[in-house]
């Protein structure tokens, strides 16, 4: 009886911990879903201008048409992966990849390009390049945090199944 009580209480502790981390992970995923859907839809709504701005970017120029399609589509795919709990880890890796790429692009543009056309979507356009870089670094760190939490939850779930 005592053993059974102890087993139930340890299982409840695991569940409580799991729930706390799971809520945090859901919040992180929701932040990225919001960000990626918002920027993708904003780009599609002002597609012509987005394509033109990409053309002005020294790293992209003539590849602007397929990049203009690829970026918002990749953002929507990552948002969909984050939305489904089973594919969330993949979505978090995708978020990290996209954000790291955008951050590197921002860094390159800040260092090497005098005329910098902003290729971002929606209100993010209103940020200065420096602010945008800080914002992206923060989000990249958030995605790393999300990956760690997802892995932690995965391990705990495995431990619960084994015990």
């Amino acid at each position: 009886m005592l053993l059974k009580k102890k087993y139930i209480s340890s299982k409840l502790t695991i569940m409580a911990g799991y729930s706390k981390w799971d809520t945090l992970l859901q919040l992180i995923a929701a932040v990225f879903i919001f960000l990626f859907v918002y920027t993708a839809v904003s780009k599609f709504l002002d597609f012509k201008s987005f394509k033109l701005t990409l053309h002005a970017s020294p790293l992209i120029t003539n590849k602007n048409v397929w990049v203009a399609w690829a970026i918002p589509l990749a953002e929507l795919i990552v948002a969909a992966l984050l939305f489904i709990p089973r594919t969330r880890l993949l979505g978090l890796y995708g978020s990290f990849g996209l954000l790291a790429l955008f951050t590197l692009y921002l860094g390159y543009m800040l260092l090497f390009t005098p005329n910098r056309p902003c290729v971002c979507g929606g209100v993010i356009k209103a940020m200065s390049w420096g602010q945008h870089l800080v914002f992206n670094c923060f989000l990249t760190l958030l995605s790393v945090m999300g990956i760690h939490i997802q892995k932690r939850i995965g391990k705990k779930a495995m431990a619960t199944v084994i015990t």
């Binding site: 995923a29 859907v37 709504l45 005329n115």
Partner: protein
Amino acid sequence: MKKYTLGLLAVALAVFASAFTVEPKKDTNLSDLYWFDPGNTIQSISSVDVATQTDEEMNVCPGSGRLCKEGYTSVTDLGNGNYQANGSKVSIFKH
């Protein structure tokens, strides 16, 4: 279903927010704009009509980087032949 609540809320908020914060640019009549060199918002207005230039001519127009000319919808006369760019900006790029 509970697992999807936050995600659904995020999608709905994102679509709602983008619908209200993105204003698709209307087609501007380029001949109605006032042309400035890239990065300059105060100068004497360019007499070059960028809108009538051919692609080939656009390749040789001045300006570092890839921006070629910036057109503004309105200007303020500062006197002594200089003008301050106002209104919304349209950038013309090199091809």
